[in-house]
């Protein structure tokens, strides 16, 4: 998709739905919106069926604000909670089969580079901890080894929330869940460490407690993925249903987990750092 394709042919506005007209006229396209402007522009995310007070929804909403070019982005996801909101964005979404998200993204990114030589298309994989660390693990690792240029975002709710609360590789040791009544017997997988070993250019770990930071991390990750190499973001997005967190306490829980074991962390390769600096200097020169 591009902004040209989205723009309504003059005279046809009255036949389009209100939401679409609002999106084209008052949406975030063509200008980078800031988190502080939220509430005064039409967001690319629409109404969706995710649970009330879900931290994952908040993270997805902030991600959509952080994307540098939503009109030139393609999202890839798989079964899991996240896709309930991701399918309700005005960004093309590909529903990968379980396990192949990063393989689909690799092919798509290469294909888009051939098809649109004059445009920059961003490919972003957004899936849960089950989709990426368990079932899609081999495709994720191999896309990193091959240095495929796209962003992988893990919505880590530490459980299979959609199917009744089974433990995943990313669940903490000892966590009691409906379908793990004795508590998990193994440690949480160290995806950050694996990403580092496989040479991912930009790695970040965060929680949605700071909206501005979420948007800026997403922006950095997508920009680096354009030029340098694969990027990975691991975000703690609690499941308030399976972990029985009352919705008013969702962000308190996120802050608590953040201070205990999920603190903000950024690992940038030298090449990626140099690229970010070059963007900054060219921006300043324009001003």
């Amino acid at each position: 998709m591009s902004l040209k394709n989205m723009t309504i042919t003059p005279g046809w506005e009255k036949y389009m739905t209100k939401e679409y007209v609002d999106l084209v006229e008052r949406g975030p396209y063509g200008k980078q919106k800031k988190v502080s402007e939220m509430g005064s522009f039409k967001e690319v995310l629409e109404e969706h069926p995710m649970c009330a007070g879900c931290a994952m929804t908040l993270f997805i909403r902030l991600t959509m604000v952080g994307l540098p070019n939503p009109e030139h982005t393609v999202l890839i996801g798989t079964a899991g909670c996240g896709r309930l909101a991701l399918t309700q964005t005005s960004i093309p979404f590909i529903y990968g089969n379980y396990g192949d998200t990063n393989a689909v993204a690799s092919g798509l990114k290469r294909g888009l580079e051939v098809r649109f030589k004059d445009q920059t298309k961003d490919v972003v994989v957004m899936a849960g901890d089950g989709g990426l660390a368990d079932i899609g693990f081999s495709a994720v690792m191999h896309s990193w080894f091959r240095k495929e240029k796209f962003t992988t975002i893990m919505l880590d709710n530490e459980v299979y929330g959609n199917t009744g609360g089974q433990e995943s590789g990313m669940t903490e040791r000892g966590a009691l869940l409906k379908m793990a009544p004795k508590g998990k017997l193994f440690d949480k997988m160290d995806m950050i460490g694996l990403a580092q070993t496989s040479g991912v250019a930009y790695i970040a770990r965060l929680t949605p407690t700071n909206p501005t930071r979420v948007a800026s991390v997403i922006r950095k990750a997508v920009m680096i993925a354009r030029e340098v190499g694969p990027t990975f973001i691991q975000a703690y997005t609690s499941c308030n249903i399976e972990y029985a967190i009352p919705t008013p306490k969702v962000l308190d829980d996120a802050r608590e987990i953040e201070s205990k074991r999920y603190g903000f962390m950024e690992i940038i390769s030298d090449e990626a750092k140099a690229y970010l600096e070059s963007i900054d200097t060219s921006k300043k020169a324009k001003k």
Binding site: K18, E19, V21, G39, E43, A55, T57, R61, P248, V250
Partner: protein, 94 residues
């Protein structure tokens, strides 16, 4: 019946924190009127999670948001009816 967030605009317009608009998990639910400098709620989108109440009370310390019964609202702002039209916001929000 169910509860929805309701913002006291007299308190909200005295501040410019906009935190509730950033922490609400639902898109375009807490809207911000730049002329009247106040946030207000599109009740048809509010799922009643109360995150904004916690943000306003604990983080911003303005105590401007309360949960109220949808039936107790005399007038409501519904995004599906009005559409997202900031230019038509006159500063008077239910």
């Amino acid at each position: 019946m169910y509860l929805v967030a309701h913002i006291d605009q007299a308190i909200c317009s005295e501040t410019a924190c906009r935190l509730c608009t950033q922490y609400c998990p639902e898109a375009n639910t807490i809207l911000y009127d730049n002329t009247a400098k106040t946030a207000f709620v599109a009740v048809d989108r509010c799922k009643g999670c109360e995150i904004c109440v916690g943000i306003c009370d604990d983080l911003a310390k303005h105590h401007a948001i309360k949960m109220i019964m949808i039936t107790d609202l005399k007038e409501t702002f519904e995004l599906s009816k009005e559409g997202f039209r900031p230019e038509s916001w006159t500063g008077q929000h239910p």
